[in-house]
Symmetry: D3
Subunit: 175 residues, 6 copies
């Protein structure tokens, strides 16, 4: 394992098994993970149904249930700035110092590469289903989604009626 | 009639007969209506052609022409905040205290329901034509629109060359 | 009386007898007044204790109690933009078209004069006490303030415990 | 101990022994603490010298060194919204659900009280020195400050040359 | 040639031969051109790949290579305000005073016409290819684009690996 | 002379002889200067009386009158972001690439030093009078200011009645 911290940015709408898998992979490679909850200011829209508070709970319960030591995880909400030329600086300001960036997202990879960081890919885990977009679509359409998220996430979404919220949002002109 | 105020939020681009009908319905049920002109900061784009000032004039002239007592109406422009988790709080800050929310819009209904308000539907009035989206489309395409808005609204839009503005905006890459 | 509308901008924290006096003066000179509630997004700080909703209620009740016809008054909340080069344009966008600007405030006078508007002074009414700053100070210090505001304003502030809120805010490091 | 979570908001510029004392007190009363790092978007000014990332490290190391179980602590950065009418809603959106608010700050107390929360005071701990304002002043003036912050905080500030940064900022016209 | 300045607004993503042609045309008609680099805050997205700094370099090198006298050109970045009612005021604030507006863009023409400016069309130059949208598409797809931009622009984009950046951005979910 | 560009950031409210002196010094050391007009969005307040457009005219006329070759000067307005952790990134995005930063301002020096830039001081030129703050004060108080600014700046301020504007702003509660 390499000393230092690895950055992993996502919106986690919701946090699924692919995300959990990535967290484990990264923790095999670096001492600590900085898990950034991006687009932190958004919620209640079709692409961002859950608030940051709800995402914090889902993610942390999933990590704990997976026996991941919280002392190795920094869970940090960061609001979007929308000005890409400042995005790396914003992340550097909100987070503990990190040395490696883990991302498959083209923009994130490009921005951190231009800024001089080492950027690594994350091996995919059942990509076809374990995509938040796909899972939100399944929730709206009444298809199976529960088995693609950590058990604690499924419980939380059910207890808070998250699927109903998402369905309502899917009918909105505005969300 | 129930004591207290009812909230009714719209963009009113433009204010049409369905909106006027809804105002009358609501005034049959509650003492006062809080009529919020949403997206108040926007104008001169294809979905929001009219400024807040223009919308204020159109709505108020239509209400007066319909013999509605202004003392029962609060006409309040509110800019969008885009952060849905704060939208109810923003509306509470900009308006007199209200008890009931009237809306058919899924996001609005969801947010106020989560915040604990009583939310009611508005009976539709000739929904197919009396939709602002449909009316803007008709203006752009040179079809009949005048008979679906209050007389005073039609006069205002004509006097201010509103249809020409909308047509110009419909040609823009940016609006 | 001159045809057209007169613009009158204030924060009205709170609306006092001097403001009411100015409204009457302006209504003697022009057909309609556009009463802008400025800094509409602020509340709960020592200089802006009341929300826009509270200010709307205070002002409208004072006007009605003074037998002012609401059909001659446009009561329009406008958030600050803080970019002075855009302030006139913002006000033009939020309000019905106006021809004269009434203000004693140096910045407002300067901006509207540079934009080519006719700008008029407002004769002062008991300036020493009828200043919102002075009245907020009196509220905090437990001195008389009630007789310097319209009766309905005093009642509203008392019923909503406005003085306690202001006192709390005066103790804050942040407000 | 009461079930549920307690909210504790601060800027922690820097995190001192009084803050640590408050965290312990709150953890005696409720199951979990939601520790909000406020003004998260600010850094490098005289009142907010440290970034959110730096504050996260300082706080977490102090908590761990004090044998506090991270599973009982939610450490959540939240940017200021500056619109007080939306502040409670913003905090509710960024955090896990909480039932009690711990604060001595007048504005925070007022806003959460108006929103219907139970608000409790925090017993002060050596208030005269254990104030972030006082400690920043001591750093600028070259007086003792180390013994008023947790040991790990002192080490971090020294290793990152925090005092030099603060002194530079204190000379700036802009910070 | 008419005394005074002409305004010409574009995003110049990238600056192509049609833009250069327009600059020459305008300089035949007015003494000085105010060349506004719009959407100045954006970069690193599929429609706005280049930063303002990069655009400044590309445009200035192209003008100098074309023997255009810099004393006749004001090159001014202006960030979007997104509130169209304030856009003319924003441009007036950021630029030297101008008398004529050159634009083929419907929204720009409409806003400046409503504000009382003289607005002129720009004769097109090989419109089919000399469109920034078309050129970005060609870059992504590996088709010829170099001959449609000034020589210096092509060199700059190659030296800075601009095409690779654009291709990366085209794969992003977010850009 | 060293190859590359030097960055020089100021608000230039107004541009005075000390600024001109600094520009000449920097042009003795580096090939090109990037002259950033900071706080570009502000005007019409007591500390920022002039718009960006007015500052552009004043500075450029002073440079030309001083026989400075515009091909060696990049004059770039940049709006404040207020988030210091992003300020270096914002400047990097708005400007051509630079290697050295010239500044006497403590915050600017600190931020660019932390970002790894070479930062140099600017030798002062009659500091006591050649300060924009001092000059604005002199304008308000009717004292001599003309001889401390470039001749073209003095002419511009007189022709545009700049001193009257500043005096009006100095009387405002809001500016």
């Amino acid at each position: 394992m390499v000393a230092g911290r690895g950055l992993y940015v996502g919106r986690f709408q919701p946090f699924h098994l692919g995300h959990l898998h990535a967290v484990r992979k990264i923790l095999n490679e670096v001492e600590e993970i900085v898990l950034v909850i991006g687009s932190a200011q958004y919620s209640h829209d079709i692409n961002n149904p859950f608030t940051t508070g709800e995402r914090l709970v889902m993610i942390r319960e999933a990590l704990l249930d997976d026996k991941i030591d919280l002392r190795r995880v920094w869970l940090v909400p960061v609001p979007d700035v929308h000005l890409h030329m400042m995005w790396v600086a914003a992340l550097e300001g909100y987070t503990p110092r990190f040395v490696t960036v883990y991302s498959n997202e083209a923009l994130t990879r490009r921005l951190f590469t231009e800024a001089g960081y080492m950027v690594k890919n994350i091996p995919f885990y059942d990509r076809k289903v374990c995509s938040s977009t796909e899972l939100r679509q399944r929730m709206v359409n009444g298809k199976t989604w529960e088995k693609y998220v950590p058990k604690k996430v499924a419980i939380f979404i059910k207890e808070t009626n998250g699927v109903n919220r998402l369905r309502d949002l899917s009918k909105s002109d505005k969300a």
